[in-house]
Structure formats: structure tokens, C-alpha cells
Amino acid sequence: MSSSTPPTISTRSREFWAGVRQELPLQLGVAPFGLVFGVLGIASGLTPLQTILLSSIIFGGASQVVFAQLWGAGVPAPVVGASVSVINLRHALYSASIAPYLRSLPLVWRVPLAYLLTDEAYAVTIHRLRNEPPSPHQHYHLLGTGMTLWVCWQITTVTGVLFGATIPQSWSLGFAIPLTFIAIVAPAIRRRADLAACLTAGIISVVGQPLPWKSWIILAAIGGIAAGYLTHRHGTREVA
């Protein structure tokens, strides 16, 4: 993250615009993902309205992709809901990490800020909260990062929906989704436990293909989490 010089005096607008400015470079990754989601939503059989509103109702890229793919494949609602839920559980980590800075705010602030708490907004704002002087206006920073990502996500989803039909199938644009996730996962594998989570999830997701309702998604996710956790715990014990 760029170590921009902290504002000499923290004001609401300085915090907000610092958030916007620092969040903008990440939109290079968010924008193509939003476009591809828009295209994929329609290709999966959702209506334009459903695809567009999914981006504001759920507002979580990977889980929206899974929702569209599962719903399009006629998977029963409880399996769709469970799969989306497992994917989004990670937000509890961000929520826990950022809560000490925000818990004293009134509910009218905490509710919208929680809604805007995505991977990319969290990453940028936690950096500001930890590394720059505390301020009574620091929550405006999360408002800035969160709204930047929200606006970008909505615009690119709508654009993807509008232009999706005109993009030829032979462009294989759907392949941009695994590519987006490769860009996130490959650099994130640092420890043995990360590799265990990755390999386990990968193997289950292929071996489990014959299972009904695309339930291999949720099984691979849970299996990967368990493998990572157990490897991690085992490793810690060895050291201790």
C-alpha cells in the first residue's frame, strides 16, 4: 500500500477522500471482476435485474459467482444458501479485526459501515487505522474505501449485464473468473497449511463432480478449511 503522508489535521473530508484515493488502484482488479460477473449472471440464466441487484444485496464477488452458477444449474435453495454462507463467513474476521476502532460509533454508522466491509475496503482501511494517528473522524476513511468499491462494483456489474449479450462465446470471457481467483490465491499461499487447504479443496472439487447439486463446492470449501486448520495446529504443536 502506498504510504501516503498522513493528513496534518484529520477532518471528515480528508479521511473520506484519503480512503477514496487509496482504494482507487485496487479497482483495476475489481472492475474486470464486476464486468465478468455481469456477463456470467446473464449467461447463468438470471435476469438483468436479478444480476444487478445481487451486486447490492449480497455485495461479495465470489459468493455472487457461486450463487449465479448454482441457481442457474437448478440447485435447491438450501444448498445455494449454505454455499454462499460458507464463502462469506470470512467477513467475520474483518469484522473482528476492525471492530475495536468502530464499536463506539452509533448504530446508524455501524450498519452502513458493516455493509461496506469487503475484502479490498478492509485491507486499505485497516492499514490506515493501524498506522496513522487515531482520529474521531477515522470512520470516514472506511466510508471512502467502501463507497469507492461499491460504486465501482455496481457500475461494472451493470456494464457487464448490458454488454454481456454482445460478447461472442468464443472469447471465453467466463475464464476470467478462475483467473481473477488465481490472482488472489497464488500469492496467498505462503505456509504449509495454506498449501494443504488449497490441495484438499482442489482435489475434493474434482473428485466430487458426480455429487448432486454441485455440492462439491461446499464440501471442498469445508474440507479445505479443515485441512488448513489441522495442518496449522499440528505445525504449531511441533514448534511448541
Binding site: L28, A77, G81, H91, A92, L93, S95, I98, L179, P187
Partner: protein
């Protein structure tokens, strides 16, 4: 029906984001839960990547003649070197197109 499921998923997702902001929340998540949740992105995203690369539309394992596999390997290399989402998407797609047209 779909709207009901969308809204339920939205509410649950919001809850995962709000959970520790609530007045009733404990100060800290238990350590085991923090550790386990840390593996969610890798596990979930891998479960989406691998079938999208390796599984044929008919549901079988596709290795020979599958341009997505070498394209994904190119993308993994680019991701590790550049750490750029955009560069990974662009090179991965270009690799897929080239392989589709030239080799397979």
C-alpha cells in the same frame, strides 16, 4: 423464490460483516475460529478455480487437449510474479486464445 434466497443470502452476508460490531459481541473471536476462518478464501476460491480449469463441460476430468490447463499455469506464474489481478486476467485470457487458435 429466487428473490427470497437472494435476500436471505444478503442478510446472512451482512450479519457476517456486522457480527463483531454489535454491542453484544465478545471483544475477540476465539483463536481456533480466527485460525479456521483464515483458510476460507484459499479453500473456497480453489474450489471454484480447479473445476473451472480441469473439468470438461460433461463433468469429466479434462487434461489432454484442454487449453485451459496451460493457460492457467501461465496465469499462476504471472500472478506470483506481478501480484496483479489485471495482468493475470489479461495474460491468462490471451494465453487461452493463442492456445485455442494455434495448438488445439
Amino acid at each position: 423464490m429466487i428473490w427470497l434466497v437472494m435476500i436471505a443470502c444478503g442478510l446472512f452476508t451482512f450479519a457476517t460483516r456486522f457480527v463483531m460490531f454489535s454491542d453484544a459481541a465478545p471483544r475477540q473471536l476465539p483463536e481456533w475460529l480466527q485460525d479456521a476462518l483464515g483458510f476460507v478464501p484459499i479453500a473456497v476460491l480453489t474450489a471454484i478455480i480447479v473445476p473451472a480449469v480441469l473439468v470438461s463441460p460433461e463433468g469429466g476430468l479434462a487434461l489432454a487437449g484442454n487449453a485451459r490447463l496451460p493457460a492457467a499455469l501461465v496465469a499462476i506464474t504471472v500472478a506470483l510474479v506481478t501480484r496483479s489481478v489485471l495482468a493475470t486476467i489479461v495474460t491468462g485470457l490471451v494465453a487461452l486464445w493463442c492456445l485455442d487458435w494455434l495448438v488445439y
